[in-house]
């Protein structure tokens, strides 16, 4: 082997090792964060913590049931709004690459992605809360849905773009109507990418405080009425984390850990669903 070849091989291996090193350095901060939150939160979590509402200052104990339930409802409603709109939006952008409306639409999705959460919160306040004269979980859900949309749309579009045209052409050749080709062939083929986009969007909004501050508002009691104020985990953490009282700080740390675990669980669920989809195909 000539020296040049040796040099090239050595360079290749060296850069491979360097790449691997860089890639695994990314893991370090996350592990630090996880350990930090687990250490601070693990001792606070028990059954009582999950099924009770927060106690006022000075009384130990209390839980985060109102925030847990509220977060689930708010995020659920947001997902109900954002998932169909987002997936259809992604399909639209993928199917209409050239039209003027699609150009503007795509641009607007990009823009939406960059709008800071607090601005969306302010806008949702002026659209829903002020005209309707009251805070509601629904207005929070709409704000969160707006934040989820660009992520779902982009991931759907990016996924569908990767699918070979032959797939679609084969389906059309069999005489399938357009909507069935899309919903029955194209979307199932890209479902793992679409689902990962959905999960990414849920993960991004699960911890958002700013859009909920002036929409869902919060509630010290358990509430399931989406036209009334509702508590959520990030709001609870935000309110209690800077308080001087240890009982409330404990609640905040416990809630932080729950929020993290929830997001983790969400990720695992997606992993399992996407795997099943892949096997089916």
């Amino acid at each position: 082997m000539s020296n040049l070849v040796k040099y090239r091989i050595a360079k290749s291996s060296a850069l491979k090792i360097f790449t691997i090193f860089l890639a695994f350095v990314c893991v370090v901060p996350l592990i630090f964060i996880l350990l930090y939150i687990i250490r601070a939160g693990i001792t606070k979590i028990n059954w009582h913590f999950l099924v009770n509402i927060p106690k006022p200052v000075g009384e130990s104990g209390g839980g985060i049931a109102n925030a847990l339930l509220g977060s689930m409802i708010i995020i659920g409603v947001a997902a109900l709004i954002a998932i169909p709109v987002g997936i259809l939006g992604g399909i639209y952008l993928n199917e209409n690459k050239k039209s003027r409306l699609a150009y503007w639409s795509r641009l607007c999705v990009d823009i939406l992605q960059g709008v800071p959460s607090i601005v969306i919160g302010i806008v949702a306040y002026f659209w829903l809360v002020k005209p309707l004269g009251g805070f509601s979980a629904l207005s929070g859900s709409v704000a969160l849905a707006i934040m989820m949309l660009p992520i779902i749309i982009r991931s759907t579009e990016e996924t569908l773009k990767l699918l070979p045209d032959s797939l679609k052409e084969a389906a059309f050749a069999l005489g399938m109507p357009f909507h069935r080709v899309i919903l029955k062939v194209i979307v199932p083929c890209g479902i793992s990418g679409i689902l990962s986009g959905v999960i990414l969007s849920v993960a991004r909004i699960a911890g958002e405080t700013a859009p909920l501050l002036f929409t869902a508002f919060g509630n010290p009691y358990i509430s399931t009425n989406i036209t009334k104020p509702m508590q959520s985990l990030p709001l609870l953490i935000y309110n209690y984390a800077t308080s001087p009282y240890n009982d409330w700080l404990d609640l905040a740390w416990g809630a932080s850990l729950i929020l993290l675990l929830w997001v983790l669980l969400l990720n695992i669920i997606t992993k399992l669903t996407t795997r099943r989809w892949k096997v089916q195909l």
Binding site: P56, W127, K130, L213
Partner: protein, 368 residues
């Protein structure tokens, strides 16, 4: 199987359309979202809604929980900040607001109807410092304090500080200022005080819940400031009394108007608040005349509309609200001390009573 797919497909289309149209309609309405007034209010009287001061939040949580045990009334108070509390009251999205600063002329004129201020508690701002070498409590005079926060005194062993703290061996460490980055009532009390005691502060910086700090680092919330102070040797910052006590932080004695160096405590705050207050209760307690009063303290107020009949509120809801506030300034005060809030003195309570009695529903007084 085919059938099922068909159904789900229609469902998907239908829901998508529904959502799309609802979106379009609410987007379309946004153009007029600027200055239109609210039409309907939270009419069902299952829960009273309040918003405002973060400072009041722990106390309110305790009080309202106790009130719920007695009367079964649910009160949903959210600590969104004093400024936001005032604007929520202005927009009529809440039953009451809470603020650490009385409303100013501009805010009053933004309101559709006059509002009442009812003092509910008093709190103090303490100056916490990080000087591990010093075991004695530091003494600070108003002029030195202003000079530190103006950036004119930059070292802890400055002769001006040494002159007050005789016998204390001050380190040659640089002073790092920590202040609140978020707008807060704490900042408002502190800068109001500095404006009163220092001409230069008043003209250069002024008072407000967020000011243009000449020097220093901003931290978010009490915790942000406390974190900066704890982590940075030579740091000094202002935080709420309750926060400092709960976290065992060292804080300075401040010289008051009468020349006494006062340790911040519930007693010295109550003393500061035990003065004659005007009939509308809008008074700042900073730089109090009381000889044993801590000078950097202030009231926190609940804000309600004087005329309670607005939107489609019921008389029942108005009565519940007034009874709640009346309970807060009487029986509710017993919960203050345990949470490091200063209970209201009797003369403040009587002023509060008079203000509450002036509230009306359709022109008729609500409380007798």
């Amino acid at each position: 199987m085919k059938r099922n797919f068909f159904k789900s497909q229609h469902l998907l289309l239908a829901s998508a359309l529904l959502v799309a149209f609802s979106f379009a309609s609410c987007s379309g309405g946004s153009g007029s979202g600027g200055g239109t007034d609210s039409t309907s209010s939270s009419s069902s009287s299952d829960a009273l809604i309040g918003a405002g001061s973060t400072f009041d939040n722990p106390l309110f949580s305790k009080m309202f929980s106790e009130y719920n045990k007695i009367n079964g009334l649910k009160v949903n108070y959210q600590s969104v900040g004093s400024g936001a509390g005032i604007s929520q009251l202005t927009n009529k999205t809440v039953d009451f607001g809470a603020s650490d600063a009385p409303m100013n002329g501009k805010q009053d004129s933004a309101l559709a109807a006059p509002a009442l201020h009812i003092p509910v508690t008093a709190g103090a701002v303490v100056l916490s410092y990080n000087l591990p070498e010093i075991k004695d409590t530091l003494l600070i005079t108003p002029s030195v304090l202003a000079d530190i926060f103006l950036g004119k005194i930059t070292k802890w062993d400055d002769p001006k500080i040494a002159a007050i703290n005789k016998g204390v061996k001050l380190p040659p460490t640089g002073i790092v200022i920590a202040h609140r980055s978020d707008g807060s009532g704490t900042t408002n009390i502190f800068t109001t005080y500095l404006s009163k005691v220092s001409e230069e502060w008043s003209s250069k910086v002024g008072k407000g819940s967020a000011v243009n700090w000449p020097v220093g680092l901003g931290g978010k919330g009490n915790e942000g400031v406390a974190g900066s102070v704890k982590q940075t040797p030579g740091a000094i910052g202002y935080i709420e009394l309750a926060y400092a006590i709960q976290n065992n932080m060292a804080f300075a004695k401040i010289q008051n108007k009468s020349g006494n160096f006062i340790t911040p405590s519930i007693a010295s705050v109550t003393a500061a608040a035990n003065i004659t207050i005007p009939a509308d209760s809008k008074i700042s307690l900073t730089n109090t005349d009381a000889p044993d009063g801590y000078p950097i303290s202030g009231f926190s107020w609940v804000l309600i509309y004087k005329e309670q009949k607005y939107n489609d509120r019921s008389a029942d809801r108005a009565t519940k609200l007034l009874k709640l506030i009346s309970w807060v300034i009487h029986d509710g005060q017993q919960f203050s001390s345990a949470l490091n809030y200063a209970p209201l003195s009797p003369n403040v309570v009587s002023v509060g009573d008079a203000i509450l009695k002036s509230a009306t529903f359709d022109g008729k007084p609500i409380l007798q």
